[in-house]
Subunit: 358 residues, 2 copies
């Protein structure tokens, strides 16, 4: 398969997107909207949340500049698409959004959703969309049905996979930042999205958490195989290897992409599994130990560096946390937002020099 | 959810089953048929394979006694169901079976399949079945959509999970044999099926390899929760923790059922991953090391014993292999077919005595 099999031209074509977060604008729930503002902000003309209307995106989400937050779709009349901007655990579409979605369709906008509740399977939406002639895009919808071969990946492309302590602490962001920095330095680096937000940003990828379990490893192996002409692949991670709900996704992804290097992401101060009630996180050390062993059962793999998410800390505490991380793990560490990804890029280049067949 | 949510009364009701293995009667491909003959033989009246017709099931499969292998469905006219008896990698239905399936439907038989290609979604089969009034049962078809909570399982029911070196080496058989032996000894022991064959045998379970990846752990957690009134749960394992294609399934199942004890299964002499081309297996020691660590990230768990599959060995070599396994792993070991499961049952009872709150 070529990369084209994993691309979505409809998503790529949108230039006047409205992000829907109505009533769900906390950073955890609205992470899709937040990252679309960050990485595709030029294509976003507004965010819909009645409770935050009148503010700017920057005021509500800390990103997105002056992009207006509005209470009604009529305030952004020239949009071309409504994007569901939330990623709640379990992926259910809020029932109260029904009228908003129908209104967007009636206005001639495409509707793009990354939830497990598919909009294209809702009879009312489908009828309206057919009548108006717009697309209903369910980013998670897929038909992968090939099992992984477990061998035959290129040894000329360095596969780097972001893994982490928990959900929702920056694995996609770190992969994107390292890919962009490698590209800026003149390297052919490919970001491979594996989640709804990454796919909405890049217009390609595998919605791995919605693949039928037998084919998770295989879908990711195919995605990797389709882009082996790159020097580097930055494969977005999901969940965590110990996640009570999502570890199946995490391991299928890890074995499917058979990484040469891992970047381990954690958030300073996080003690409990996000979205679950009072389930404590294991230590980073216990996870890293298991990650290295289990990755190496598939393919020789090392940990390149640590990406620390310091969003809860002030600048001084953040710098101290990063220094502590370097000592604690004996690896280069940084917060990609505060420090940039230079240390992780350097580690990737060192791995490339060591791994590539001469 | 109660256990009833996981039960299939149609499957349980069949008493005159014909197993379809036509052209695929090798032990690896026909493992569904072989285990239906073994564990539900009283409900099987014939096997259809033109290439082996005229023989008995025992002659072709080594199990099933005098059950005839036939060339045509008309030779078993009073059947009530046709069971697809194969489990090929990837789960595709052989195209050449189309006419046989339509003939079975026309004869008024239900059709039961455990493949990923769903028979009930085939328009020709569906029309014929509706006309005749028979059931098309796709054992893998499911709609699990709840994520795991990661906590709250009973500490009064001992959860025992069979894991293994590879696919297709006896994880289901070992779970069934231990469950039956515990039951025979007067204990309330529940077998929990997680694959097509186990579901066809027991009429209940979760087809875990066909669950959408995000919900794998959750579906298994629900299955466990539904039967916690048992003293013991014997949860059938799938794949292996290092399987290049199926490790997502294996880990989701392991973390979903949060076992107290593992029984590790391996086949003497197996060196390569079954069904994949020349992918070597890791050592049992490397796998066991990772299994213990990764299981304990979810819930305190120990390895109870080793189930050795000695099908390739003669009696003397088999006995030697089992003795070697006891020394190699420092754990009780047996081949459940040759030796019975008594050592594993004893280990389960010891764990119960140690684990149960007093």
């Amino acid at each position: 398969m070529s990369l084209a099999s994993f691309e979505n031209p409809v998503i790529r074509g949108h230039r006047r997107m409205v992000l829907l977060t109505d009533g769900h604008s906390t950073p955890f729930l609205a992470k899709t909207a937040i990252n679309l503002l960050r990485y595709r902000g030029q294509d976003v003309i507004g965010v819909l949340d009645q409770h935050e209307a009148g503010k700017t995106a920057a005021e509500v989400f800390g990103v997105g500049g002056d992009t207006p937050v509005v209470a009604h779709l009529q305030q952004v009349p020239n949009a071309d698409a409504l994007y569901v901007g939330i990623a709640p655990p379990g992926g259910k579409l809020p029932l109260e959004w029904r009228d908003l979605i129908l209104e967007a369709i009636d206005r001639g906008w495409d509707v793009v959703s990354g939830l497990h509740d598919f909009v294209h399977l809702n009879a009312d939406y489908a009828q309206a969309a057919a009548r108006v002639g717009v697309h209903l895009v369910d980013v998670r919808h897929n038909h992968y049905r090939d099992i992984a071969a477990g061998r035959g990946l290129s040894d000329r492309c360095v596969r780097i996979h972001t893994v982490g302590h928990d959900c929702s602490l920056g694995k996609m962001v770190v992969a994107l930042e390292v890919q962009r920095a490698l590209q800026a330095a003149g390297h052919r680096a490919q970001f491979l999205a594996t989640g709804q937000t990454g796919i909405m940003i890049s217009g390609q990828g595998v919605p791995v958490d919605c693949v039928v379990a037998d084919f998770v490893n295989g879908a990711i192996e195919q995605l990797v195989r389709a882009t082996e002409d790159a020097e580097f692949q930055l494969i977005e991670g999901q969940g965590s290897i110990s996640h009570p709900a999502y570890s199946a996704v995490t391991l299928g992804l890890l074995h499917g992409c058979a990484p040469d290097g891992l970047i381990y992401c954690y958030e300073a101060g996080r003690e409990y599994v996000k979205g679950l009630d009072q389930v404590p996180l294991p230590t980073c050390e216990a996870q890293l130990d298991v990650l290295q062993r289990i990755a190496n059962l598939r393919h020789p793999c090392e940990v390149l560096g640590i990406a620390v998410n310091t969003r809860l800390l002030n600048a001084e505490a953040a710098a101290a946390e990063v220094r502590t991380a370097e000592q604690r793990f004996g690896l280069p560490a940084c917060d990609v937002y505060r420090d940039g990804p230079a240390k992780l890029v350097a580690a990737a280049l060192t791995l490339q020099a060591r791994r590539l067949p001469s």
